[in-house]
Structure formats: C-alpha cells, structure tokens
C-alpha cells in the first residue's frame, strides 16, 4: 500500500516535467498520423469532410501517372544530389582544413549560402539563370558563346540547375560535419606514418579516409532523408516545370490538396511518402546505433 503510494507520488512529481512536451508531441506529431489515416479514407476537401470512400484514394494513387512521375522526380533528385553532395562536402572540408591564413575565409564562404533563406537562394538562381539577359548567359555571350541555353525551361538543364543550386546552398552544412570529424583525427597517426615514410596520398588513403567513413555514412543517410523532402527550391525555381518534369512528390501533394482541393487524396499520397521516409530513417537509426557500439 505504502510503496504503491510512493510510486504514485513519484509519478505525480514527474508529470509537470513531462506534460508540456507530451501535449505538444501528441497533438502535433502523433495525432496527425491517425488523422492522416482517417483523411485518406474519405473524400475530403479544404472546407469539410465529404463521404467515406474506403481505399479509393489509394487505388487512385496506384493508377496515377503523376504520382509515379513525381515520386520518380524526387528519387532522381536524391540520386543526383546525394553522391555529388557527399563528394563535394568532403572536398570542401579538406580544402577548409588546410592550415592557411585563409582558413576562416574558406570556411565562411563555403558555409555562407547555407544560412540564406530558400527564397533568397532561389531568386538569386532565377536571376542568374534567366535566358537572354540573365547573368550566366550574359557571361556566355561575352566570351563569345552564341548559344542561348534555357537553364530553367529545358528538361535536362532544369535538373542541372536545381542540383547545382542545391549543392551550393546546402553543402556547407555537410562540410562542417566532415570538418569536425577531420579535426578529431589524432595528429599522432600522421606523425607515426611520417616516420614510416608514407606519402601524402597514402596518408589520405589509409588514415584520413577510413577515419571519415563513419561520418560519411551519417551524412549519406541524412542527405538521402533530407533530399526525399525536397520541395521549396524546386517550387520556386522551376515551379516543377517544364511541364511537370521536375515536380517533386511534396509539390504534387500540395497541388492536389490545396490547388485541386482534394485533401483526402493528398493525405493518401502523404502516407506513401511517410513509409518511404520511415524506412529510410529506420535504416539511418540502425546504422547509427551500430556506429555507437
């Protein structure tokens, strides 16, 4: 009896500490999952819940070419940006780790774009990439190239533009992660190899690189996860065009839900995204767990 009461007292004391987080977490993180399930089973628009349609929204999704196209676009974005991102981040981290008087300048410059708002970087990109009088094409004309590349209106070039802009914007973040890891490598390892007469390349190959593999794996997975959520810069730069060829899944979900006023179907597609991201984050957590051990 007494011990039970004591347990109660202890629970009671913990509650004020847990409750604020618990409430916010329940309402805005857990409940949406259930709500989303409900919504995906209904015809549901911006104004009200309409009729129960069972799995109709999911069936529509399977047969919806645009769903698959946009899912593929998102996947293509992941495929294009992830390896380039990791490689570039590593390269920049190595450069930024050089012991020179420019070190602060290098780090600052590589990272600076990351702190700018997505709207700013997107419009910088638009103004630089515009045909006829955009900065890039002007420079091309200046050096005698007569071509008029349509950086945002050509299917292939639009992807190039999006990938380059994304790299420029976000690579600084990953560079810092590499940099932190680089600085953790004990100097003694290099000194020892020095004595053994290792070349600079051998040092990189056998000391630096292996030491960076763990953080590299973290960055890779974080990057895949983040890239599956791509939306804003594509929406702002190409609007998903030309004719839908760069439209990512989140943009399609947004358009279906809010422009086409069909929240039920949008919720169903969100579930697809949810499962993709869930699997990826389980993989990520697992690998991090094994890292920790």
């Amino acid at each position: 009896m007494n011990s039970k009461r004591k347990a109660w007292m202890q629970d009671l004391r913990a509650i004020p500490f847990l409750l604020p987080f618990f409430i916010a977490y329940m309402i805005f993180t857990i409940f949406p999952i259930l709500k989303g399930l409900e919504m995906s089973l209904y015809d549901w628009n911006l104004v009200r819940k309409l009729e129960f349609v069972r799995l109709e929204n999911y069936k529509d999704m399977i047969g919806d070419q645009f769903f698959w196209d946009s899912l593929w676009n998102t996947t293509l974005f992941v495929i294009l940006t992830t390896p380039t991102m990791v490689a570039l981040a590593l390269g920049l981290a190595l450069l930024a780790n050089l012991n020179t008087k420019f070190q602060t300048f290098l780090r600052g410059s590589f990272f600076l774009p990351s702190i700018l708002s997505v709207a700013v970087i997107s419009f910088l990109a638009i103004f630089m990439l515009q045909p006829y009088n955009g900065l890039i094409n002007s420079v091309l004309h200046l050096i005698g190239i007569e071509a008029e590349p349509f950086w945002m209106a050509d299917k292939v070039l639009a992807w190039v533009s999006i990938v380059v802009v994304t790299l420029w914007w976000t690579v600084g973040f990953n560079m810092i992660l590499f940099l932190a890891s680089l600085q953790d490598i004990p100097e003694s390892l290099y000194e020892a190899s020095e004595i053994d007469g290792a070349t600079r390349w051998e040092q990189f190959r056998y000391i630096t690189f292996p030491q960076l593999i763990p953080i590299g794996r973290v960055i890779l997975l974080l990057q895949i996860l983040a890239s599956y959520k791509v939306f804003a810069q594509i929406l702002l730069i190409t609007g998903g065009g030309p004719s839908g060829s760069t439209r990512p899944l989140i943009q399609y979900i947004y358009e279906v839900g809010f422009t086409k006023n069909n929240l039920g179907y949008a919720a169903a597609m969100s579930y697809a995204l949810f499962f993709i991201l869930l699997v990826l984050s389980i993989v990520q957590l697992k690998s991090q767990r094994s890292e920790g051990n």
Binding site: Q10, D11, R13, A14, F17, L18, P20, F21, A24, Y25, I27, F28, I30, F31, P32, I33, L34, K35, L95, L98, T100, F102, R107, G108, S109, L112, I115, S117, V118, A119, V120, F123, L124, I126, F127, M128, L135, S138, V139, L142, L177, L179, A180, S181, I215, L222, L225, K229, F231, A232, L236, Y254, G257, L263, S270, F274, L277, L278, S281, L285
Partner: protein, 287 residues
C-alpha cells in the same frame, strides 16, 4: 599560446608534407569566390538605380550606386514586418523547444517514475515521423484548433523535438551523480535541481539545440506557406516571392528585398560563426 604554437607547427609540417599545398589553396580560394559571388552580386544589384538592367555583366558592379531602393522597400512594403515575423517565430519556437525538451529530458534522465522507458521510446518514435509527410493532416488539425493564419499555428506544431530530448537526456545523464545526490540530500526540490544545477551544466547542449532550432525555423518554408494567409503574418521565405511575381519583373527591387532579408543573417553569421559551426556539428552528428 600553446594552441598557437601547435598550429604553427602543424602548418610547417603541412608545408613540408604536401607538395600541392599552394595549388589546393588556390583551388579553395577559387571555389570560395564562386560560392560568395552570387551574394556579392545581389548586394551590388540592390544598390543600382531602380529599374536598371543590362546584358553586360560588368555593368552590374559599376557606379552609380544608390540606397534609395532600401528606403523605398522599407517604407513601402511589408518586408520589415516579415523580417520581424521570422525573427519572432524563430525566437519563440527556439525558447519553447528548449523549455519543453529540457523539462522532459530532465525527468527521463533524473527522475524515477513508472513506464519511464516506454515513455522514452514513445518519444523517440517521433524521430521517425517526418513532418513533411504529415503536413496535410497537421493542416486539418491546426485548422480545427482555429490556429490557421496565426503565430500560434506557426510555432506550436514545431516545438516537440524528440531530437532535443535525446541530446539533452544524454547530456543530463553525464552530470556526475554525486552532485545530484548531494543536492537531493540538501532537500533540493527537483525543480531547483533542474534549474540551478543541471541546466547550467547543459549550456553547450542547449546552445547547440537552440541554434539548430533557430536556423530550422528561420528557413522553414512548407508550413508557413500552407498555414499563413495574411500578408502581415508572412515570414521572409514566404513573403519574398511576392516581389517576384508581379506583372512587371525587374532586377533591382527583388534583389534589394533579398538583400534586406539576408544582411541580418550574414551579420549574425559573421559574429557567431564559431558557435553556429559548433552547434551544427554537435546536433548534426547526433541527429
């Protein structure tokens, strides 16, 4: 002193070891210039006379300069209001996030209660729930709470950060048990223990999470884009595109808007570079 001489030695060593050092520095500088060039260009365009346009790249950087665009925009547009909104939302989001995650992490780390592990694991599940994938039902929930188009609707859904709980819990776990015990024996209440002893020790972790949360909120686009209807409540990422989608499209005005939105963060970055970098490597590696 010791730090300095160690650096010097490393530099000498590096020079000796690396035959391509100068080349690498040159590449680094080249890339750095490419990286900041668009930002420099933005600043130059923003001080050109309104309506200016050219196909000669050099002319963008040549005089005449004027600051009247800044005055114009600040007086005649909502940009300062949006700047304030972004700042306000990011600050409150950060404070509330730190507040509720620290409380929860403290309870899980230091207090005894039943189902503790279950609750902790339940909180951890949140790590696997991507906000982007629940945005549609979140919209419906916030709508039903009558918080669409409000600061509360912008802030509250963003504050329950499981990552914050994890990081802080592991930090609190590291607080020496002796300190806690002696405090408890002194009759210190849990709150006092939390506020007076554990929290100050967790400052580095709090700072890291704070910076991370702040930047995340500052750059958040999708949620404000969906949940805000009134121009007066726009945050910068949602507001800036307004300058760009008018019927007539010029360079100078939108670039000035971009510059106004960027200058404060660039200044803040130059001042707090070290802390920001630390915060990111700290939180990024954990997350």
């Amino acid at each position: 002193m010791a730090e300095n001489s160690r650096k010097k030695r490393a530099k000498i060593l590096e020079k000796k070891r690396d035959p391509f050092r100068s080349l690498k520095i040159a590449i680094g500088l080249g890339v750095a210039v490419i990286f900041i060039f668009p930002i420099i260009w933005m600043l130059f365009v923003s001080i050109k006379p309104d309506g200016f346009t050219t196909t000669n790249p050099f002319e963008w950087f040549a005089p005449p300069y004027t600051f009247s665009n800044y005055i114009d925009l600040i007086m005649n547009s909502l940009i300062l209001k949006w700047l304030w909104n972004s700042l306000f939302v990011a600050t409150i989001t950060t404070i509330l996030t730190l507040f509720i995650t620290a409380l929860a992490a403290f309870a899980i780390s230091q207090m005894k209660f039943r189902f503790k592990n279950t609750i902790y694991i339940f909180f951890l599940l949140g790590l696997m729930i991507p906000g982007e994938a629940t945005i549609i039902p979140l919209y419906e929930i916030v709508k039903n709470l009558n918080m669409i188009d409000s600061y509360a609707g912008l802030i509250l859904p963003m504050i329950a950060s499981p990552l914050g709980v994890i990081i802080l819990k592991s930090f609190f776990d590291g607080v020496p048990q002796e300190i806690i015990e002696s405090a408890t024996i002194d009759g210190c209440s849990y709150f006092k223990l939390f506020y007076k002893i554990v929290l100050p020790l967790a400052k580095p972790a709090m700072a890291a999470i704070g910076i991370f949360t702040f930047i995340g909120s500052w750059n958040n686009f999708l949620w404000p884009y969906l949940s805000i209807l009134s121009e007066t409540l726009y945050t910068l990422p949602v507001g800036l595109p307004v300058f760009n989608s008018n019927y007539s499209q010029a360079y100078v005005e939108p670039m000035t808007a971009n510059a106004i939105a960027s200058i404060p963060v660039i200044v803040a970055f130059l001042i707090f570079e070290k802390q920001i970098v630390k915060g990111i490597s700290f939180t990024g590696i954990k997350g």
